[in-house]
Point group: C2
């Protein structure tokens, strides 16, 4: 693994930039190549077969850009397509948001009562339950929150409507868990709303933060941290440039990237 | 135009089945070939370029199925990509939901105050305003309602959350228009909610109904109504079979089709 090569990251859309933001915080020298499949977003309402096909094409795109590491920053692709990506990946190591989320949940819970929220596909896959059970813990409940992504994308991540929607989804979880995994890259923007709905005693696990930590550990242990003391470049490749995409990039990334290019994959 | 050939209809997803339902009501003998681009749904949040490319591929698929007529049942594609589709269409006549919606709005208004609601792309295109102005009328306001589609797809087309969202979008329209065009195939399912938010004096124009009427008129005037007295077949071709697709098909179509097949386009 050549340290000066970029880290590759992909997501179904722009939400995965919350992962880039955390990685930049912890590894400021790394160059980032980010692929957002904005022409086919969202993945979370689609079939396993479609998600696997899209994710395979996404990794292939990153491989062509000679990344030293590919990070699956999409909660849906991480839950649904990870086994396939790991099987098919020969030369590029693959990290994801799913496994760090599981590990953090298991570390965090005190009462062995873990909840998971994500897209329809993530929750439908049952992968979180399986993985948490393998760690000797128990998912009490997993809940699909399909309106959360459109709420965030409309800028409605707080306020009366967000509160009502959060209440509808999270009401049944509230008294039952002590730890809640936010298994979708859009959800960190709803943290305030989710916290209000869940109450102050429930601990929220944000896989974006955990993934950034594990990326750092991985690079350190493989002697592959970029040795530069310059701030790394962020290059965004998007399969579509939808209306307001610049606003969404700034919302999720917290800065403007060095380059934005539309690509076909 | 050979009367025994099927009518081709496409939409970004399953919402366009509301148009099929109306066509079946008025033209029960017609065979229907429906393409739903469920792998790339929604179109309404994407760029003009992406929507034009997708819509061109969709029409090409219908042409390969030798339809006698192609109906664009997607509000977004009708508003954004219609000129291109008409320019490029050589052998297959193209109907859409946009022009019948405009004509019905112009016929319906008493006070020359028309409102339009649709997706971000539809409203952003400004095409409704232009077309209604060309007819000597005025769109007072057009409002993008991007949360309406996910609400319908989650089955939340009535209730407290739908009311709050409708109030947020429609509040500014309420006192200003006498006619409101529902320029998205999902919105007919929200009619009750929209009517509650708009009050009883505002007339709602449903382009699905108008499109079915115009399809019937077109076939009659071209001597191309299928002469059979049997009920026609409905064949669905979908680019993805997402979770719950059968429920959504039944919700929009009101019956189960004769065939459902996944295709790549």
């Amino acid at each position: 693994m050549r340290p000066e090569k970029p880290i590759g990251i992909f997501d179904s859309g722009l939400g995965g930039l919350t992962v880039v933001r955390e990685i930049r915080r912890q590894l400021p020298g790394e160059d980032i190549v980010y692929l957002g499949d904005t022409a086919r977003v969202p993945y979370g309402t689609k079939s396993k077969e479609a998600i696997e096909r899209f994710a395979t094409e996404d990794v292939e795109f990153l491989r062509r850009h000679e990344v030293k590491l590919a990070v699956v920053a999409c909660g849906t692709a991480s839950s649904v397509a990870l086994s396939l990506l790991l099987e098919e990946s020969q030369d590029v190591p693959i990290l994801d948001v799913f496994r760090p989320g599981v590990r953090a949940a298991v570390r965090t819970t005190k009462t062995n009562r873990i909840g998971v929220i994500g897209t329809t596909a993530t929750v439908g896959s049952g992968r979180f339950e399986e993985a948490i059970q393998r760690n000797g813990h128990r998912v009490i409940r997993s809940v699909a929150c399909p309106l959360f992504v459109p709420l965030v994308e409309e800028g409605l991540y707080e306020g009366e409507i967000a509160d009502k929607v959060a209440e509808m989804y999270l009401g049944p979880l509230k008294e039952e868990v002590d730890t809640l995994v936010l298994a979708c890259t859009h959800y960190p923007l709803l943290k305030g709303t989710i916290r209000k709905a869940m109450g102050p005693s429930v601990r929220l696990v944000d896989p974006a933060q955990e993934t950034a930590k594990e990326t750092q550990e991985y690079l350190l242990s493989h002697d592959a941290v970029n040795p530069t003391d310059q701030r790394g470049r962020v290059e965004l490749f998007l399969t579509d440039l939808p209306p307001h995409y610049r606003d969404l990039i700034e919302l999720f990334l917290g800065e403007m990237p060095d380059r934005i290019e539309r690509v076909e994959i």
